[in-house]
């Protein structure tokens, strides 16, 4: 695995945590066959990640599956379903290897009492790192069952075959036994050790086949439970006062008007000021009556000056990769292109706001929370309540979107503090304004590139520096002899004093920024050399997987050299994220006012083995649709710590009327290990649209989002 595949995964702030004692744990589950999986031993985990994780991963196991006496298979995983579809794809992997039907598998996800420790659901890691050991566990379970069947059926192993939860004699198929029969009255616990042979791709019957989401029925009937849907007797709904700006200090406060509302309880606990009521909207009304005065810090930056500020406070930076000699590269180049690319803060803006319900009984707490990191939430709650960690149970029901934003559990801690002080179960569900205020935005960032190309179209120089985005996706993949890539600014969390509010990981963190800059620059060089952008890329690429996706996209899109007409233009963008190669092509239409309609997007993606091709396509479509937002409209407006965008009226996310025709080509790579799926395609959206706008209008955009005002200005330079 290459360095950038594991770097920048969100590993920080994770405390070592051990699940319940194994014996105690297994007692919970009665009879059946239980296979324990330890990710620590898993072959699949790349060397570097293993080294990095070693101090944190528990000695014991990370997941397990249990074949019950009823023949049903339950898989216990610390991963969480956020919409990305792993509730289906993990079950597919398990079912295929175990030889059971998909609908006999039940997924139990993220419950910190039932599921073994997991660091969190982010970085497109579930399928890549959790998938292989899960498959091995299923294979191991099948081997145990086969062994039991040889005794039960009195048939030698080589004559037996398993299918759909039944083991039969190949020579006498009527001589058979079900998994349920074999499991009955047994309690077999095995740890996954040593190598287990897995099916070859050609033997798959469930993996690699398009499968419908297994959670769809619950979600279309309103039965699917999210954190805000849990009801407990006596529970109170809390609304929390947000200051007018980040960094504001409270001077004085008058809660008397709020307290006059019947049934209201005001809680002041240091920085936490909350109003609680048995009706959520009454709590909201009361909160509006709280009068508070603040000392506001001086606003030093706003959404326009932030980029100069970032350049000023940026530390030196470190070379991510380098080769050749930059001076030689410059001498060999006929055209030197030096450009600066900017992108703004963007919000996660999940439709479900951060929500948590905490119930405290004695020195035990139960937490229902929308979180990507339930085990981290467990530790955070234990710490704030002063409970031993084992006394806290976090249960994540379905989560209404994450995209990196719900790795942050601030609402969980708020609910825990309030539940303790109120002596009742308390639900905190952030209002939309609170969601925008507390969100950890994708950081504003700057990329500076100096590159050089010969008239022949060969690139000789690449001098790249990214500020404050992070290094994921910063390494270029073209065949350039003289190059250097530098990253500075401490990744997406920034350095002290850099950002006026919290920043964090946002779907394919850093890579959206890096790919926008790199692929725009490539296009500018193609234009300088007078070469078609597709031909130019083909000329400068040697990487076979990248050439594969590029030619597949061009074929599907029907790329032609001729410029589109009537304000229409075509664009290309390439990128690599979490091991997956992506090529996007788009057609846009731009009117005189600078408004863009993206008409058509083709994505060719090489993600190795695709577990659920339909699920993979859904993620590509999701990436393309969501990516239209950061490309065209999404931008947090602010002055100092004051956030001006607090709802969807000014913070515009993609809508139905923006929808392009989307076509996805998945490269057939069944024999390569599976790579990331939830994030890769979104990284190309900035540049593919920017390059198409250039093709349509001759105007080059250097800042995201590409709003009509910015496009108009670029079309009519002063």
């Amino acid at each position: 695995m290459k360095k950038d595949d594991y770097m920048d995964l969100d590993f920080s702030d994770i405390e070592a945590h051990f699940p319940l004692d194994r014996r105690e744990f297994i007692k919970l589950f009665g009879g059946g066959i239980i296979i324990l999986v330890s990710l620590r031993d898993a072959e699949a985990l790349p060397q570097q990640s293993r080294r990095r994780l070693r101090p944190e991963l528990p000695e014991d196991f990370n997941a397990f599956l249990r074949i019950g006496e009823d023949g049903r298979v339950r898989c216990f995983t610390g991963k969480v379903e956020l919409g990305q579809g792993i509730i289906t794809s993990l079950a597919q992997m398990l079912a295929d290897e175990l030889e059971v039907s998909l609908n006999s598998v039940d997924m139990v996800m993220g419950d910190t009492d039932l599921c073994p420790w997991d660091m969190g659901t982010f970085g497109s890691m579930t399928t890549r790192f959790f998938g292989p050991p899960l498959r091995e566990a299923a294979a191991k379970a099948r081997a145990v069952l086969m062994e039991l069947a040889t005794e039960y059926l009195q048939v030698s192993l080589n004559k037996l075959k398993a299918k759909d939860g039944v083991i039969f004699d190949k020579t006498q198929p009527k001589n058979q036994v079900t998994y349920a029969q074999l499991t009955k009255g047994k309690k077999i616990v095995k740890k996954l050790e040593g190598k287990v042979s897995l099916k070859a791709a050609s033997e798959f019957t469930i993996v690699g086949k398009p499968v419908s989401r297994t959670d769809a029925q619950e979600k279309v009937t309103g039965k699917a439970m999210f954190s805000g849907d849990i009801r407990l007797p006596g529970m109170l709904y809390a609304r929390i006062l947000i200051p007018p700006a980040h960094g504001a200090k409270i001077k004085s406060m008058d809660t008397s008007a709020a307290e006059k509302i019947k049934g209201v309880r005001v809680i002041k606990d240091g920085d936490l000021i909350a109003v609680l009521h048995k009706h959520p909207e009454e709590a909201g009304k009361a909160l509006a009556k709280v009068k508070a005065k603040y000392d506001l810090p001086e606003a030093k930056v706003d959404d326009k000056t932030i980029f100069d500020h970032l350049l000023k406070v940026a530390p030196e930076g470190e070379a991510v990769v380098q080769g050749g000699n930059l001076q030689t590269g410059e001498k060999l180049s006929a055209h030197i292109v030096e450009e600066t690319y900017l992108n703004s803060y963007v919000a996660h803006a999940t439709t479900e706001t951060h929500t948590a319900l905490v119930k405290i009984e004695g020195n035990k707490a139960t937490v229902w929370a929308s979180t990507q990191t339930p085990f981290r939430a467990k530790d955070e709650v234990a710490q704030v309540l002063g409970f031993p960690s084992k006394n806290v149970r976090v249960i994540p029901p379905f989560v209404g979107g994450g995209f990196g934003g719900k790795s942050n559990n601030k609402q969980v801690v708020q609910a825990a503090r309030l539940a303790k002080l109120a002596g009742k179960p308390v639900q905190v569900a952030w209002s939309r304004a609170e969601e925008f205020f507390h969100d950890t935005f994708r950081p504003a960032a700057v990329v500076k590139i100096k590159s050089g190309v010969k008239d022949s179209g060969k690139i000789f120089l690449w001098d790249y520096k990214v500020y404050f985005a992070g290094e994921r996706g910063s390494q270029q993949f073209y065949d350039i002899p003289h190059h250097q890539t530098v990253s500075t600014g401490g990744g997406w969390r920034g350095t002290p004093g850099s950002h006026p509010f919290g920043t964090g990981a946002w779907r394919a963190p850093a890579n959206n920024t890096n790919t926008f800059a790199r692929e725009s620059q490539i296009d500018i060089m193609a234009s300088k050399a007078g070469i078609d952008p597709l031909e130019f890329r083909l000329k400068n690429l040697k990487d076979k997987r990248m050439l594969g996706v590029l030619t597949a996209a061009a074929k599907k899109f029907g790329w032609t050299k001729s410029k589109a007409t009537n304000g229409r233009g075509y664009g290309i963008s390439l990128g690599i994220d979490t091991g997956t190669y992506v090529a996007l092509m788009a057609e846009v239409e731009v009117d005189k006012k600078g408004a863009v309609q993206v008409k058509h997007v083709v994505c060719a993606q090489d993600m190795g083995l695709s577990i659920n091709p339909e699920g993979a396509k859904m993620q590509v479509e999701g990436c393309i649709t969501m990516g239209l937002g950061y490309a065209l409209t999404e931008e947090i407006h602010f002055k100092g710590g004051e956030i001006f965008d607090l709802n969807f009226d000014t913070y515009e996310i993609p809508r139905f009327s923006w929808l392009p025709k989307i076509e996805t080509v998945l490269i057939d790579a069944k024999d390569s290990p599976p790579q990331g799926g939830g994030e890769p395609a979104i990284i190309c959206m900035g540049a593919v649209v920017a390059n198409a706008i250039y093709d349509a209008t001759g105007a080059r955009l250097f800042q995201l989002p590409m709003t009509p005002e910015r496009i108009k200005e670029a079309m009519n330079p002063k």
């Binding site: 989401r213 279309v220 439709t351 939309r432 009226d649």
Partner: protein, 160 residues
């Protein structure tokens, strides 16, 4: 002011004794424990709280409960009949027209109101009439396909 509000909820006569100024969303979610209707933005911008009142899609976070007196309210919990899913629900499953599923109830109910008014909407009609319902995961393409499939299914009455 606490008042008695009689209305039909998912075809069943229902009585609420509540402050009529409270919003329908919260009456559904906290008084009646019908949590399929979601809170998304609280200001009517996102459509996660969409329900039908007399077959019209309304934003229940902005709709005082006193205004449902004597009316028919349909929520996501009331769409399936006798255990049979509504054609829109079936089509959403068939096309995988959802990801996280949080906006889904609002999407389905808004789509239902669109089809009640215009049983054979064009692609453009669907985009226009669904435009005020937001989905962050980007399931839009499949939602449009699902609405088209359901429209075909529903021609000549709502077969279940």
């Amino acid at each position: 002011m606490i008042e008695t509000i009689n209305f039909k909820l998912n075809d069943k006569p229902t009585r609420l004794n509540v402050d009529g100024e409270r919003m329908l969303l919260w009456a559904l979610r906290s008084e009646l424990s019908l949590t399929g209707t979601k809170f998304g933005c609280g200001e009517g911008f996102c459509g996660s709280c969409t329900v039908l009142v007399n077959k019209e899609a309304v934003r229940s976070c902005q709709f005082p409960v006193k205004d449902v007196k004597g009316k028919d309210v349909i929520t996501i919990e009331g769409l399936a009949k006798n255990g049979n899913l509504h054609p829109l629900q079936k089509a959403f499953i068939k096309h995988d027209a959802l990801q996280c599923g949080f906006c889904t109830p609002g999407m389905i109910l808004n789509a239902y109101s669109v089809l009640l008014k215009n049983p054979q909407p064009s692609h453009k009609d669907i985009l226009q009439n669904m435009d005020e319902n937001l989905c962050r995961c980007g399931a839009h393409t499949r939602i449009v396909q699902a609405i088209k499939t359901a429209a075909k299914e529903m021609i000549g009455g709502e077969k279940r």
